[in-house]
């Protein structure tokens, strides 16, 4: 893996700050082309900050974030997005002043190869039905669908999904699990932040455990059962 073959995203020595608080202390992990990788960890471990740092959305960051061979640490977030990385933020970020259709087509196409809008609607038929509704009038689950759906047509290859199952009913969590597996089949690479490792185990190839702003362990999904005790210890569950 160190030879770099097949590595889409390589994070090394990543430090990040929110105002005065130093959140990330040397994050180091890789995501290979076509993988689904999760960041697991307790609240406040720095998982969401890692996502926002990859995207260039923190005030100050240091270290190295290489995407497809391009160092992005000095780039602004709009330039990073244009390389083909897209974020589905934890708070979903649905715009109240835009209707569902406008929310859906808001992120510009940054590269060829995204899903056509019709296929996005095939994955999320509910969003087609509600195309004219105000974005924030959707239910929580529908808003989450929209937040994922709108980054599929941009041509971004690496999707950063920040807690897509948070606060949702089990049936919707299942649906999102199905969607993530379908996206993997279609060749998307996904970095997933999750609190719910039972859910993570159903979709991911590998798991990184994050604590106090750095990675403390990496567990391949195949070894998850064997490492359950250790993982529960890390997560305090």
């Amino acid at each position: 893996m160190r030879d770099g073959a097949g590595i889409l995203l390589s994070v090394e020595g990543l430090e990040a700050w929110y105002g005065e608080s130093h959140i990330l202390h040397g994050m180091k992990f890789d995501v290979r082309d076509g993988e689904v990788v999760t960041l697991l960890g307790r609240n406040g471990a720095g998982k969401s900050t890692t996502m926002r740092s990859i995207m260039g959305m923190v005030a100050k960051r240091k270290g190295s974030v290489v995407y497809e061979g391009t160092e992005t640490i000095g780039l602004s977030s709009n330039r990073i997005a244009r390389l083909g990385i897209a974020l589905c933020p934890e708070e979903r970020g649905i715009f109240a002043s835009l209707n569902v259709r406008e929310n859906m087509v808001l992120p510009p196409v940054v590269r060829p190869g995204g899903l056509p809008l019709s296929e996005v609607y095939d994955l999320f038929p509910r969003l087609a039905e509600r195309a004219g509704s105000q974005g924030t009038k959707l239910s929580g689950g529908e808003q989450q669908m929209l937040a994922i759906a709108r980054i599929l047509r941009t041509g971004a290859k690496l999707l950063l999904l920040d807690e897509p199952t948070e606060g949702l009913a089990p049936v919707i969590v299942q649906h999102i699990g199905n969607i993530i597996r379908q996206l993997k089949e279609r060749g998307f690479t996904i970095l997933l932040v999750e609190q719910n490792f039972h859910f993570a185990a159903t979709v991911a190839d590998r798991h990184y455990v994050v604590e106090h702003g750095h990675v403390i362990d990496m567990i391949p999904n195949a070894d998850l059962q064997a490492n359950m005790g250790k993982l529960k210890g890390y997560l305090g569950v």
Binding site: M57, N78, A81, L87, G93, F95, S97, L98, E102, P107
Partner: protein
């Protein structure tokens, strides 16, 4: 003489027309203010000075270059927009992370400097600017006399406001603008160059003010203080309409202009304060303004 509610109709409609004209200026100016506040979080106190600059550019280009009204109407907004873009890039852009108060103070200071500059050069007595010959004269409507130029101002203002509204509510560019007003960081993370969008929005907002300034030149004389006389009322209009609501600003602008005109007929003593009384009442009942969102 015809009367309505004991008021001569010519006086009533005359004042209502004046009110409508004032309303047109309130609407155009508060529209720009609302746009700028929405995206930049800056209360643009130099808006009045930029409106005045529009009128001055019209007067200067006529006096020294012989450029007519229509040329001024096209050129002045561009010149003032460029001036605004330079201000935004060199000064305003440093304030976005600070409290609103800093932007207000900076733009207030800029307004004083700009006005002082024109005052120094041209005094405060005001220069006349003739109505363009295509729009001279008027129509006798029977119940009142309607100067063509004034009708033009109302129509031009309505078209401008409608066009801006369509641009913001119905186009992709407008969707970016609305989204960036809510969550600029996320819009930028989708690949949009939000800083450039902010700069252009400021340029567009002050261009609207300059356009209004050119429209105003033949009605009010061209005077360095014409903007500061107007801007306090415009701020009251923005507060009543609700900061950040485009349609709200436009409707409120016209409504309050009419209300002011009506008050001039019924109880002239209150005409200059009626808008502020409305502001107090609206703020007591609906602190976010008539069209404002949230509390």
């Amino acid at each position: 003489m015809m009367t309505l509610f004991g008021i001569p109709t010519a006086a009533l409609f005359g004042q209502l027309l004046l009110g409508l004209i004032n309303g047109a200026f309130y609407a155009m100016l508060s529209l720009g203010l609302a746009l700028i506040f929405g995206l930049l979080n800056i209360i643009n106190f130099s808006h009045g000075a930029q409106y005045m600059m529009g009128a001055f550019i019209a007067w200067l280009s006529l006096t020294y270059l012989g450029a007519n009204y229509w040329v001024a109407l096209a050129v002045a907004p561009v010149v003032v927009a460029v001036f605004g873009i330079i201000l935004e890039r060199t000064m305003l852009s440093r304030l976005y992370k600070l409290d609103h108060l800093y932007g207000l103070l900076l733009t207030f200071g800029l307004a004083l400097i700009i006005e002082g500059f024109f005052r120094q050069l041209y005094g405060i007595s005001g220069m006349p600017y003739a109505v363009p010959k295509e729009l001279a004269g008027g129509w006798n409507l029977g119940f009142m006399y309607l100067p063509i130029y004034r009708a033009w101002v109302v129509v031009a203002s309505l078209l401008l406001c409608l066009g801006t509204w369509l641009l913001i509510e119905k186009t992709k560019l407008g969707a970016y603008l609305r989204a960036a007003t809510e969550n600029p960081a996320l819009v930028q993370a989708f690949g949009i160059n939000v800083p450039v969008m902010i700069t252009l929005t400021y340029g567009f907002g002050v261009a609207l003010a300059a356009f209004a300034g050119v429209l105003a030149a033949p009605i009010y004389s061209v005077n360095p203080l014409m903007g500061s006389n107007l801007i306090i009322t415009v701020f009251a209009v923005v507060v009543i309409g609700g900061m950040g609501s485009i349609m709200g600003s436009v409707l409120t602008g016209f409504m309050l202009g009419l209300l002011e005109g009506l008050t001039k007929v019924i109880y002239p003593e209150a005409a200059s304060t009626v808008i502020f009384m409305v502001m107090v009442i609206v703020l007591l009942i609906k602190p976010a303004g008539l069209f404002g969102k949230g509390a």
